[in-house]
């Protein structure tokens, strides 16, 4: 299946250049697990990083730098950071943040049809998983800030289109939308928000406050 909704140039460049924080890096790296095209774009951007670094005026090192480094070549290497492979439908980059497959996670329920799981907050970004059974209507809402939603399983549809696994929706604060989970499997999304959601109706608004959206 080909991906229709990609991260924009700016997100990919920030990831390749190392400027994005952990939340956005997780979002982009997880998208890359689905998307060959963006993997190529990131590789190209990394080549630009390499070319730009090569073009810098070299900074002289201290006199003993080379021998100090050579003297350490036989040291035991530190353990390399693990880069887990995808398993149980969970893309590799996401796995260190989860205690298991989607079915085994300690989901927090919001009524019969919706559930969520907070993962972490960093630098004003909130990262969580959202889950809805097919046909679930999340209620009309917009956002203070921006909401990035990456489909991991199932799919959803709103006025802007349909989103399948690997697709990324970027909803800026002016967008009021009403995503509905598509038929089939439960829709599971990775969500990164820069501010709380705003609901149009009172009940979801109260629920939203309670659940820390």
């Amino acid at each position: 299946m080909s991906i229709l909704h990609h991260p924009d140039e700016e997100l990919l460049l920030a990831y390749a250049g190392g400027a994005s924080g952990e939340a956005m890096s997780l979002l982009v790296a997880t998208h890359l697990a689905f998307c060959d095209q963006c993997r190529r774009a990131v590789a190209e951007a990394e080549s630009m990083g390499g070319a730009l670094m090569e073009a810098l005026e070299p900074a002289a090192l201290k006199p003993g730098a080379l021998s100090a480094t050579m003297a350490r070549l036989d040291e035991a290497p530190p353990p390399a950071p693990a880069r887990p492979l995808s398993r149980d439908g969970v893309p590799g980059p996401l796995r260190p943040y989860l205690s298991g497959g989607f079915a085994a996670l300690p989901w927090r329920r919001m009524g019969e049809r919706l559930a969520y799981l907070p993962l972490f907050r960093r630098g004003g970004m909130r990262v969580k998983l959202l889950r809805g059974v097919p046909g679930t209507d999340t209620g009309w809402h917009s956002h203070r800030g921006t909401e990035f939603t990456l489909v991991l399983q199932g799919g959803f549809t709103d006025a802007t289109g349909s989103y399948a696994p690997g697709d990324l929706q970027v909803a800026a604060d002016e967008l009021w939308h009403n995503p509905v989970a598509d038929p089939g499997e439960d829709c599971i999304n990775l969500s990164v928000t820069t501010g709380p959601l705003r609901f149009k109706n009172l009940i979801p608004a109260i629920a939203g406050k309670l659940f820390g959206f």
Binding site: E9, E10, L13, A14, G17, G18, A19, G21, E22, S25, L26, A29, T30, L32, A33, D36, R39, R40, A43, E44, E46, S47, M48, G49, G50, A51, L52, M53, E54, A55, L56, E57, P58, A59, A60, L61, K62, P63, A65, L66, S67, A68, T69, M70, R72, L73, E75, P77, P81, R83, P84, L85, S86, P91, G92, P93, L94, P96, R122
Partner: protein, 216 residues
């Protein structure tokens, strides 16, 4: 004249490996004598296959001062940049067997090592990454795997193309790599609207992609 390197770091003779040229003294700018990307690849192969210290020394001479410079551009104090540049080169020594010339040039590979070290050591953050060997990945579309020469050649073209970008475009591209900040702050720093930053970036990428032979 290999006498200096061999006296300091005696290397077993392996006739199969092409000796790297005498490494230049580190403090001397290497711009005049910078060898091409293919030479760098051969040095990394020599490090990976033969634990060749003279080849490592040559790589160190070329890349360590550039990694230091890169880290200082991103705001690291000279002493910390120096330490991390040495760490980056140690990492190169340890991971040389993982280097894949079909994927990137040595310069790009070293850039990604330095980038990740900085995120880990200076920003103290995790950087989620994809393992290229992940079985979930769909195989690369299009023509088969490129060989190392092509990666190097493509980067040569990219380097030339970077020089042809208008100054306002090269500035936003540079800031994407040499500023640890989101683009809205870049816009503020350059005193131009965010939309202008984005459109300059897009124009620059379109141009670079065209040069690299890939349609946007």
């Amino acid at each position: 004249m290999l006498a200096y390197a061999q006296a300091a770091f005696p290397v077993r003779h392996r006739p199969a490996v092409r000796r790297p040229p005498r490494p230049a003294p580190i403090a001397v700018p290497l711009l005049m004598q910078t060898p091409g990307g293919e030479t760098h690849q051969q040095w990394v192969v020599a490090v990976a296959r033969d634990r060749d210290r003279a080849a490592f020394q040559a790589l160190f001479g070329h890349f360590a001062p550039r990694v230091k410079s890169y880290l200082m551009r991103l705001g690291a104090p000279a002493a910390q940049a120096e330490d991390l540049a040495q760490e980056a080169m140690l990492s190169l020594w340890r991971k040389a067997h993982l280097f894949d010339p079909a994927k990137a040039s040595v310069g790009t590979w070293v850039f990604t090592i330095a980038r990740n070290l900085r995120i880990d050591a200076i920003r103290r953050e995790k950087r989620p990454e994809l393992d290229p060997a992940d079985p979930m990945l769909t195989p690369e579309a299009g023509p088969g795997a490129e060989d190392g020469l092509q990666a190097v050649e493509q980067e040569g073209r990219l380097r030339a193309a970077l020089k042809t970008l208008p100054p306002d475009q090269i500035r936003v591209v540079e800031l994407s790599f040499f500023a640890d900040k989101p683009h809205n702050q870049i816009a503020a720093e350059l005193a131009i609207p965010l939309g202008t930053v984005k459109s300059r970036l897009r124009l620059a990428m379109l141009r670079l992609r065209a040069v690299m032979g890939e349609m946007p």
